[in-house]
């Protein structure tokens, strides 16, 4: 008898929530087959079976479990069902054996179905005519739908569900004058986010400084080299890489912004590990771009993209999210024009990006329309003075408005020049 217990997923974690079982009580499971999904403070992960055998589920879905708590037991003495046996019988025998067994096998077919469903094949994500029409009309891409049909085919029901989900994001219709309410357990992630934000507010001397940046030159570069960049690196030349680069250069100029307080000491960093706030279906997560100061624009964009995809799919690991010396949060993607971001402890500052909007600006005594973005830096006044924080933000602005200046500090544009 083997036990599946909650492992020590990370040092700081003492408790997890069992979000979902992936097998049924009494199923025969293989070694390393995922048994359940647990949610930790920062990510969800699957727990593999420690042995092959018949599984008995001990804990229940939704339980908060301490590290070491028993989730399930696996009876290794149970024999694997004949059907699951991987070894193939010799062809000649197979032929003889199959025919008479046909009838006897029939009832078992149902038990086999769930296994088949999880398999992927050439047909995964393909939608037969009715389902395809529904998806096309609803503007939902096949890749965004999980097909529950054989080998991941998208059934009509899957398509209808996908459209419904999309509609509910856009604001589901509510009954007029309804006074109904809904109670949902706070997810572990939400709880952690809540605790950390309050901790940050209460334990720092936080305030925010604002500025604005004229995006004309960055837009020009993106328009001019965007296609070539995409062709060469297979990733879009977005704004994130420029901001990350500008932040790194500004951090080098103002090391206190890249530092944090550790019990009476100030820890300065030679490197810039930039946390990027990413909104995922499960909530806000902040994966980290490591050594961003040494990365090229393309490497930054690729990292951002892979982290965003991992976030969307709930695949971010602990390692992806721990550390970080400074955070960039982009509320602009949701349309925010101005905000006061909250520091991500133990870091000392955070940059808030916002929506780019055409605004009349006075340039050389004349009014011109320019694509403008407000910038906000929230900082911990305990270690960063006003002069430094303002200087830091002005430096970011300066790098972004004059991207050629970034050349002097680092190499990213070299790559761009290479392509010209």
């Amino acid at each position: 008898m083997a036990d599946l217990k909650i492992p020590a997923v990370a040092e700081s974690i003492t408790e997890v929530t069992l979000s979902k079982f992936l097998v049924k009580d009494g199923d025969y499971v293989e070694l390393d087959q995922p048994i359940c999904e647990v949610e930790t403070d920062k990510a969800s992960q699957e727990l593999p079976s420690p042995a092959a055998g018949k599984v008995k589920l001990v804990a229940s879905e939704g339980d908060d479990l301490k590290v070491g708590a028993l989730v399930a037991t696996i009876d290794e003495s149970a024999a694997a069902p004949a059907k699951e046996a991987k070894t193939e019988a010799p062809k000649a025998e197979e032929k003889k054996a199959e025919a008479p067994q046909k009838k006897a096998e029939a009832p078992k077919a149902e038990a086999k179905a769930p296994v088949a469903e999880t398999k992927t094949s050439y047909a995964t994500g393909s939608a037969p005519p009715a389902a395809q029409k529904i998806l096309d009309e609803g503007g939902v891409a096949n890749k965004d739908v999980k097909g529950t049909g054989v080998s991941g085919r998208i059934t009509k029901a899957d398509a209808l569900e996908a459209i419904k989900n999309k509609a509910s994001i856009g604001g589901a219709k509510k009954e007029a004058f309804s006074r109904g309410e809904r109670v949902e357990k706070m997810s572990r992630l939400r709880k952690t986010v809540a605790e950390r934000l309050v901790y940050s507010k209460n334990s720092t001397a936080m305030l925010t400084t604002f500025n604005e940046v004229d995006m004309t030159n960055i837009n020009k570069i993106r328009a001019k080299y965007g296609d070539a960049f995409k062709k060469k690196y297979d990733v879009n030349l977005g704004m994130m890489s420029f901001f990350t680069k500008a932040v790194c250069l500004a951090l080098e100029k103002y090391p206190a912004v890249n530092a944090y307080i550790d019990e009476g000491n100030i820890v300065y960093h030679d490197y810039c590990d930039i946390s990027i706030a990413v909104s995922t279906p499960k909530g806000l997560v902040v994966p980290v771009i490591r050594n961003a100061e040494s990365l090229s624009l393309a490497e930054i964009e690729k990292t951002v993209k892979s982290l965003a995809i991992k976030g969307r799919d709930g695949q971010l690991t602990m390692d992806d999210m721990t550390g970080g010396t400074f955070t960039i949060s982009n509320g602009g993607v949701f349309g925010s024009l101005m905000s006061t971001p909250i520091i991500n402890p133990p870091q000392s500052a955070i940059l808030g990006m916002h929506k780019v909007q055409d605004r009349p600006m006075v340039i050389d005594g004349k009014i011109e329309i320019r694509p403008m973005m407000y910038l906000a830096v929230s900082y911990d006044h305990r270690i960063i003075d006003g002069k430094e924080s303002v200087g830091f933000l002005v430096a970011i602005k300066d790098f972004l408005e004059n991207p050629d200046k970034m050349l002097l500090g680092a190499d990213p544009i070299d790559l761009l020049l290479e392509m010209i």
């Binding site: 050439y122 047909a123 029409k133 049909g149 054989v150 085919r153």
Partner: protein, 467 residues
């Protein structure tokens, strides 16, 4: 002047289906038909009447040639050809009446007369008496279909040198029927008259019959029809024909290039069909035809003039009633702002000879030319218990599947009820089934469909249980 959301020009299977779908979608619809009755070629002079004659001639053929072997004695067997043609007329009438009822039920206004564009929003309709009226419309679907193609050196007199239309309404059974063209139409009508006692000679320019079909299928079809007694002159180039009294003489160059003469009492020209746009007034709205006289359309079946759509035989693609029907629905739904799609690769083709031949998806020659790695599963009906019981053991089912993924890429069958069975291939391919998927589905025993399963088994892993 009456005003419509959509006007459909042409009342064949594409047009009337489009009209019904448009009405279902809440639009005010007019349909214009040049002839007195709706239904187009398919119902009046195509699919339906030819099947009426194919079915009855098959019964006669069985009674004459096969009943003895089955242990059924028949005395005084005879053909009442007049009754056959009359019954065909009854079948056609029942069908076209059904369409007229459907128009009424769906509140679609039917105009009998020649529809012609005045502008893109105004259609003139001239009836048989020459009276003219105009209607206004926001959008138009052109569904004017096709006509039998005539060869420039072989004028059709509709008496001795005839098209499929006349061949369905003859007053006598030809003694010697010469058929020019071994396509589906020629083979089907050839079968009808061969069964009724005509000596049938099929003259074909190419070296094979049903040339668009998979080569295996084409070869088997030729073999079976030849065995049955139809004479084929392949690789033969027809040069002309003369009529003298009741005798038609077709002149041609045979395979060796020698001039030959073929004599008969009727000559059926079945060399294909041409899009029909005569009198439609396309020039008034600036639509120009392509090199094959078809109306060019985009993926949404919209012509170069926005709001004017075209479907069926008058546009690119196979000239098949069921293709036109799908396009009718597609155009109607596109007009309604929906986003339907047609997989043209999965429009099945059927030939109602006996045994029937049917196909869907890629042919073996297609896959070869695409350089695709494939595997083949082929099972003969000789191995089918059901086929043996009914005495229909000619033919086979052939499955072409992707060598790597086992996905079914093409299904080709010739055999009893193949025309009905091909749909299993269509469904399988729409759902992107693998050959093994099909071979793991229970097929009822004993049926002809078991051959489909066996062919899939054979394609999967060469594990047919009966071969």
């Amino acid at each position: 002047m009456s005003n419509y959301n959509v006007t459909v020009i042409g009342g064949g299977p594409g047009g009337y289906v489009a009209a019904i779908r448009l009405a279902q979608l809440g639009m005010k619809v007019a349909i214009i038909e040049k002839y007195d009755v709706l239904g187009g070629t398919c119902l009046n002079v195509g699919c339906i009447p030819s099947k009426a004659l194919l079915d009855v001639s098959e019964h006669y053929h069985n009674a004459e040639k096969r009943f003895t072997d089955f242990g059924i004695g028949v005395k005084g067997l005879s053909v009442d050809f007049g009754r056959m043609i009359a019954r065909k007329g009854e079948v056609v009438k029942a069908n076209v009446d059904g369409i007229a009822f459907l128009m009424k039920k769906n509140k679609i206004d039917v105009y009998n007369g020649l529809g012609s564009f005045v502008t893109k929003n105004k259609i003139a309709i001239t009836n048989k008496a020459g009276e003219k009226q105009e209607i206004e419309t926001e959008k138009v679907i052109i569904a004017t279909g096709s006509k039998p193609t005539a060869l420039p050196f072989l004028p059709i007199d509709k008496k001795r040198i005839i098209t499929s239309t006349e061949a369905l309404s003859l007053t006598e059974i030809p003694k010697n029927l010469i058929i020019i063209g071994a396509g589906i139409i020629g083979l089907e009508l050839g079968s009808v008259y061969h069964r009724l006692g005509s000596k049938v000679t099929v003259v074909e320019f190419l070296d094979k019959v049903a040339p668009s079909m998979d080569e295996d299928l084409s070869r088997e079809l030729l073999r079976v029809l030849k065995k049955d007694g139809i004479e084929f002159m392949l690789s033969t180039k027809v040069k002309g024909a003369t009529v003298k009294g009741k005798e038609v003489t077709v002149t041609a160059d045979n395979k060796a290039g020698e001039a030959i003469e073929i004599k008969g009492d009727y000559c059926l020209v079945a060399v294909g069909r041409s899009p029909y746009t005569q009198g439609l007034g396309l020039e008034n709205i600036g639509i120009t035809l392509d090199e094959r006289k078809r109306i060019p359309v985009n993926d949404h079946l919209e012509t170069s003039v926005s709001g004017i759509y075209a479907i069926g035989d008058v546009v690119r693609g196979a000239m098949l009633a069921h293709k036109a029907e799908e396009e009718g629905v597609l155009a109607a739904e596109i007009i309604a702002g929906q986003k339907p799609h047609i997989n043209y690769n999965l429009i099945p083709g059927v030939c109602y000879t006996w045994p029937e031949a049917a196909s869907v998806g890629a042919t073996e020659q297609d896959l070869k030319s695409q350089g695709k790695a494939y595997k083949t599963g082929k099972v003969s009906f000789k191995a089918s218990g059901r086929a043996r019981a009914s005495g229909d053991t000619d033919g086979f089912v052939k499955i072409l599947a992707d060598k790597e993924t086992d996905e079914i890429l093409g299904v080709h069958m010739i055999g009893p009820r193949a025309a009905d069975m091909i749909i299993e291939g269509v469904v399988a391919m729409e759902f992107r089934a693998s050959a093994e998927d099909i071979s793991r589905m229970s097929h009822p025993h004993p049926t002809y469909t078991e051959a489909f399963k066996e062919a899939c088994l054979s394609a999967t892993d060469n594990r047919s249980l009966t071969m």
